[in-house]
Each structure stands twice: as C-alpha cells, then as structure tokens.
C-alpha cells in the first residue's frame, strides 16, 4: 500500500513537472481526400433543409464537378462536444457549421480566415461581425439571429390597450403591464432555467438602456460595468421579477420551448424571441395568426436613446485548418450562402436569411417589420460576451429573480469575469 502511494506520488509529480503533450493537437493536417469534402452541421438531417442543401450542392457542382460533398448531421446538444473532440485530434470535417459569437470565437484557432475568399459576398450578406475575431472573418453567415420583442395583439385588446401603438417608454410599458395583469395575463413569458432569458433581455433592452456611445464601446470590448446604465439593465430585469411581470416559476421554465409555448397559448402578452430557427414568427403562427402577432421596439429606459433591432449572424459555415485545399472548401461555404440556397432556407426553415435582398412580403407584417429594421440594427450585446461570462450571467440572473443577490454584486462579478476572459 505504501509503495503504491509512493509510486502514485512520483507519477503525479512527474506529470505536473513535465506537463508535456497538449489537450488539443493543433497544426496537424489530415482528413478529407482531394475529391471529397465532409461537412458537419446540425441542420442537414431536418426535412426543411433539403431544398436548401440541394440548391447549395448544385451551385457547388457547377464550380467543382469532381468534388463530392458529404453532409453529416450531428445532434445539436452534443455538437460542440463532438467538434471539440475533432479539433483536439486535428482530424474532422473540412467545413462545419457554427453559431455566431462565442462559439466560433472560442475555436478560431482551428479555422481558416475566409476574408480573401468571400470578398464578393460582403455586400450581399449581412451579419459578418458575429463570425469575426481580431479583424478576420472565419465563417459566412447563413441566417441572421435577432432578439425582437413580440407581443400578442389580442391580449392588448383585452386589456384595452391599443395594439397598433405599444408603449415606447419603460414607465408606460410597466403601466401597460399592470393593465395586462388586471386582464388576467402575464406581461412576459420568461424561461430562465438555462439562464438564457437574461441574454435576450440584455440584448433586447440594450439599445434603449445604454447610450449609443456605451453601446458601441460594449461591442468593441470596452465595457464599463460600473456605468449607471449597465446597472440599469439588471435593475429593470430585477424589476420584472419584483413586480411579478414574468410568467410564474421563470427559473424552472425552459426557454426552449416552454416559455414560447406560454406566449403562443396566450398566457403572456410579450416574449423576447428570436428571428430564426425557433421561438420566432413562423413558430408562433401555429397558434397566433400573423394579424395577432406584433413586433415592437424596445421601450426607452434611458431618455435620449433610440431603439434599434439587435441582431447578428446566426449560423454560418466555416473552414477547418486541416482541410487539404482551403480554396475548394471556401467555395463550398460560398455555395452554402448563395442567393438561391438562402432563399430556399428562408422559405422552408422560417429563418431570416443573411441575404437581405430576399423578398419577404408574403410572410406577414411581423416579418416585414423585422426586415425593415435590419438596416438600423446593431450587433446584439450578449453575443460580444464570452461563454464563461454568459454562463455566470445566467446564474446571477436567476439569483436576481429570486432576490438572493444585489445588482451591485452582479455587475462586480460580471466585470471580474469579463476582464479575466
């Protein structure tokens, strides 16, 4: 027994001192033969993606008739775990799908900068910033993801509010919420079990809580967590909890898709939703007809601010460092965001595609409003934060709702996490 202990000690100390090897093996190039490209995503298995992929493949075939493309659909909840394993081994797909923001920025070491290849698409597509780091672009956007505030016009009518002109200031908004509560509905459908609710809150309310200068500074990384307006974002969040404006049990309600179900079924008047994929206009239309569904601008919290739609590149395809010929892989990425392919994606998947030239007039007033606001839109605030800070913010937001922490303590902890990473 004693000898065993000594040996284990020797082993541990030895490993600690040398610490050789590495957790992720970068630099090695392998995988993917000349005539075949492997693509990883979590979409290609879905029926709605079929026509999109067909269009993209056809486009790619024109450029490279001799290269075959294989799409491998991974389950989304395991996607980044599997991708992490692939990156560590230095082998894996040539092209892969990413969410914009932290997910791709954390992994740019394994990706090829695409700036030289996608120059022609710059103007046509929107949402590039979410896939860039340090001035380089690593993926071409497919969809745009934004965080609009949807509202239920039928509930507004029931509460004797004008559905055509929702509140434009925070004070008026809380007064409206009181009226909505009297009419028997909750103000917000909130699911904060995963701690994602606060991310939507931060981004949706950011443009009307922070000044324009603070907003731009936030995006470029100069975040002043002690500013009164940043604190105000968390104060209004806490206020929604204190004033019982949120649906009950927000901390145990899943955002996807329980909170959206609450909104759809008319139990709450507002929801901070998405533009693409899930929790958006097309999803809601199942129960809320397009006439009943409204999109409103964020109510002004800090006087002198102008509301703007927060949005970023939603998902986009990137090229792995270990691919044999980055040019061919980049051409595939371009095909995957070609105009025809994106048009099919918008129509079948119910997403706001990155190509802003697509005609969306058929999809109802909510979508038309969204697309018209893209021009004045700005990158979403939470996308600029690291995954670690977002995770912490999620937990702190739950504490704010349950009343076990103060706003000052929250910004202190977030500032520390933001500066560390």
């Amino acid at each position: 027994m004693r000898q065993r202990a000594i040996w284990s000690a020797v082993l541990v100390v030895g490993l600690a001192l040398t610490g050789c090897g590495s957790a992720s093996d970068s630099g090695k190039s392998s995988g993917g033969s000349d005539s075949k490209l492997v693509v990883w995503d979590w979409k290609s298995g879905e029926p709605f993606a079929k026509s999109y992929l067909d269009k993209a493949k056809a486009d790619f075939k024109k450029k490279h008739p001799d290269v075959t493309v294989e799409f491998v659909a991974q389950p989304f909840d395991q996607y980044y775990t599997l991708l992490g394993a692939a990156i560590q081994s230095g082998k894996g797909p040539d092209v892969m799908l990413f969410n914009g923001g932290g997910q791709i920025r954390d992994r740019v070491d394994a990706l090829v900068p695409l700036d030289d290849y996608v120059a022609e698409d710059r103007q046509r597509l929107a949402g590039w910033e979410a896939f860039g780091k340090d001035g380089k672009t690593y993926a071409a956007p497919v969809t745009l993801q934004g965080y609009p505030i949807y509202y239920n016009k039928a509930i507004y009518q029931k509460a004797n509010l004008d559905p055509a002109s929702p509140a434009t200031t925070w004070d008026k908004f809380t007064a409206d919420c009181a009226a909505i509560a009297k009419a028997g509905s909750k103000c917000f459908a909130l699911g904060n079990k995963e701690g994602v609710g606060i991310q939507f809150w931060l981004s949706s309310m950011g443009s009307t809580t922070l000044t324009a200068a603070e907003y731009d500074a936030w995006i470029t990384g100069k975040r002043d967590w002690n500013s009164a307006n940043v604190k105000r974002v968390f104060q209004t969040w806490k206020e929604t909890g204190d004033k019982k404006m949120n649906s009950d049990g927000a901390n145990s309600t899943a955002m996807f898709n329980d909170s959206f179900a609450l909104f759809q079924s008319g139990k709450a008047a507002h929801v901070m939703g998405l533009m693409s994929d899930v929790g958006h206009w097309q999803d809601f239309n199942e129960f809320l007809t397009p006439e009943k569904l409204g999109v409103m601008k964020a109510p002004v919290v800090t006087a002198g601010t102008t509301p703007s739609l927060p949005y970023d590149g939603g998902i986009g395809y990137a090229v792995a460092k270990w691919t044999k010929d980055p040019k061919v892989a980049a051409d595939l990425v371009r095909s995957l965001s070609s105009a025809d392919a994106l048009k099919a994606f918008y129509a079948d998947a119910g997403a706001i595609a990155a190509d802003t030239t697509i005609d969306v007039s058929q999809a109802g007033p909510a979508v038309a409003t969204l697309v018209s606001e893209l021009k004045s839109g700005k990158p979403a605030l939470h996308v600029a934060l690291s995954s670690k800070t977002l995770d912490l913010m999620g937990r702190l937001s739950q504490q704010l709702l349950s009343g076990s922490i103060t706003v000052d303590e929250v910004v202190k902890q977030l500032a520390a996490s933001d500066q560390a990473g």
Partner: protein, 326 residues
C-alpha cells in the same frame, strides 16, 4: 449484478478474498509442475502470461493509457496556452471556482443521502418478503421505473413538478402555496436526488430480494415463536443476515449516484437554479462541451476519479472487514 446473490449463497469463509487471491495460488502451484517437465516446454511456462495478455492489453491500452493521458492533459493549459505546462494551475482554478465547490458539496450531500437511498429499497423488499397483501403486484411495479431512461424520467418529473404542474395543483387544492420545486436552489437538488432514487431503487430492490432468497426462514419462524415484533425481526434477524447484500447495495448505489445522474440533471435543472445542482460530471461536460476548456475538464475528471477511488477503496475495506467477521 447477479454477483450479489451468488456470493452470499456460497458463503465460504474466504469469499471476500477469493477474487484477488485465486490467481496467485494458481501461479504458485504451477511452479511445482515445471519440476516434472523441467527443461521441457518453455511454452508452458509462458502460457499463463500469454493467456492473461489480452485482458492486460485491453486494460492497459483502453483504460490506463487514456487515464494517464487525461491526467497529463490536466497539467496543460487551454486556449492560447494549449499544450504548455501549467503545473497545478487548472487545479487551483478548479478549487477557486464556486461552481466546482458546489459540485463537491453536492457529492457530500449524496453521501449523506446514501443511507436513505439504500433504506428505501431495503424496507420495501422486506415488506415484499414478508408477503404484505398485494406483494406480487408491488414487486413488478417497483421495478418498472428502472427500465425507463433517465431522459424520460426527467421529462415526466419536469411536467409533474412544473410551477403550474399537477403537484402544485394538488397542494393548492388543500390550501398550500405553490412551490417552485425545480426553481428554488434550496429544494432543487433534493428533488433531483429523490427522482434518481425513485428511478433506480428497483434494481437495488431486486438485489435485496435475491439476498432474501438465501435467508433461512427457520430464523424468522424462531423469532416469531419467541414473540418478536416486526421491528425486532427486521433489526435483529433480517439486517444481520443480509449485511453482505446491504453492503453490496451501498457500493452500487454510491457509484450510481456519482456517475449516472447526468441525464436527470441535464433534463431537470441543467445544473441550475443558480448553479445549485451541479455535480462533478455535469461540470466536466459543461467545461469540455460548452466552455471549450478540455484541460480544465480533465483536471475535474481527475478529481472525480480520485473521489471514486477513495470511495471505492473505503468500501472494499469495509467489505473485507465484514468478510473476516463471518
């Protein structure tokens, strides 16, 4: 699992040591054989090693080597520091992380709740053994949750325990305010552990029933003739006679709690609310899959491995000691 009932039924005095000791006498004894065939076949001398080789190779290549690699990774950095040695940096970061501290505290909580998790199937098995009315029915019903996947169990209880769910509806009908079962950090962990016990006690129940099969009914009859109450029968006859089964269930339940609650956690609370239901497993998954910190996750895995090792060794010690008492 069936080892649990075969062992007590054979019940040789050295059964506890049989596993480890059986190999060594065999090799020693083979030492007498070469005397007969001295200078003869070398192959025969190497035969045992060759026969053991596949098993050893599998253990070394697929278990020990990855384990050492993992421990090695845990001493390197993540991200920009990828591949460079950082000594105990990851471990320092881990122990400073309040989330990991919560995870370790929750492991402590699991250890504290272990007796409950063992007592429930034990008591229920006792009732079935004592043939309470409807025992056949209960026997199958109790086992039923054990065949459900944790994901399904989690989804069922998510619905039941939702704020506007049936449990709160029942409570409010008797005038109790609704409770946010999975949204209150003081309650959520107990709910998850409770559901885990509900979902897995069927297996332990079967082990207990198998243990009862080896119990000498004459002892029970004698106790009854002497006028022992049910409590006395359980405490003075059943518990001592089943001590080995109970220990086995303790070991398997502990391992089950530490290593297979991920599915339930993921579905029921996702580690929340406020990070109160983190367990090391969930922490490892989060760091590796969500935060892209494989080296930090390796360090957490190493610590989880150490915990399991200590718990396992302690339990083997306990088993050995009780084996000697027999």
């Amino acid at each position: 699992m069936p080892m649990g009932n075969t062992q007590p039924s054979v019940r040789p005095a050295s059964a506890g040591r049989a596993g480890g000791a059986a190999v060594t006498p065999a090799t020693h004894r083979s030492g007498t054989r070469p005397r007969r065939t001295r200078g003869g076949l070398g192959a025969e001398r190497y035969a045992p090693y060759i026969l053991v080789l596949p098993a050893v190779l599998i253990i070394v290549l697929l278990r020990l080597y990855p384990l050492i690699l993992g421990v090695n990774f845990s001493f390197t950095g993540d991200g920009a520091q990828n591949g460079t040695a950082v000594g105990f940096g990851n471990y320092r970061e881990l122990f400073a992380d309040p989330l990991f501290q919560t995870a370790l505290k929750n492991v402590g909580l699991l250890v504290l709740l272990l007796p409950v998790a063992v007592a429930i199937p034990g008591l229920l098995a006792t009732f079935i053994y004592l043939r309470v009315p409807g025992h056949r029915f209960y026997r199958s019903v109790y086992f039923f949750p054990a065949v459900l996947s944790p994901v399904i169990v989690g989804a069922i209880f998510n619905l039941l325990l939702a704020f506007d769910g049936p449990l709160n509806a029942v409570l409010s009908s008797v005038g109790v305010d609704p409770i946010d079962w999975l949204g209150d950090p003081d309650i959520a962990m107990f709910m998850v552990v409770g559901v885990h016990i509900w979902a897995t006690f069927g297996m332990a129940l079967v082990v207990f029933l198998a243990g009862f099969a080896t119990l000498d009914p004459a002892l029970l009859d004698a106790a009854r003739v002497d006028g022992a109450s049910l409590r006395q029968v359980v405490w003075h006859v059943i518990v001592p006679a089943l001590s080995r089964t109970i220990q086995f269930v303790f070991v398997t339940t502990m391992i089950g709690m530490l290593t297979s609650m991920f599915g339930l956690l993921y579905i029921m609370t996702s580690g929340g609310p406020e990070g109160s239901t983190y367990l090391p497993e969930f922490y490892i998954w989060k760091q590796q899959g969500q935060m892209n910190r494989p080296a930090l996750a390796s360090a957490a895995s190493t610590i989880l491995f150490m915990i399991m090792l200590v718990v396992g060794l302690l339990q083997i010690k306990l088993l050995e000691r009780s084996g000697k008492e027999d």
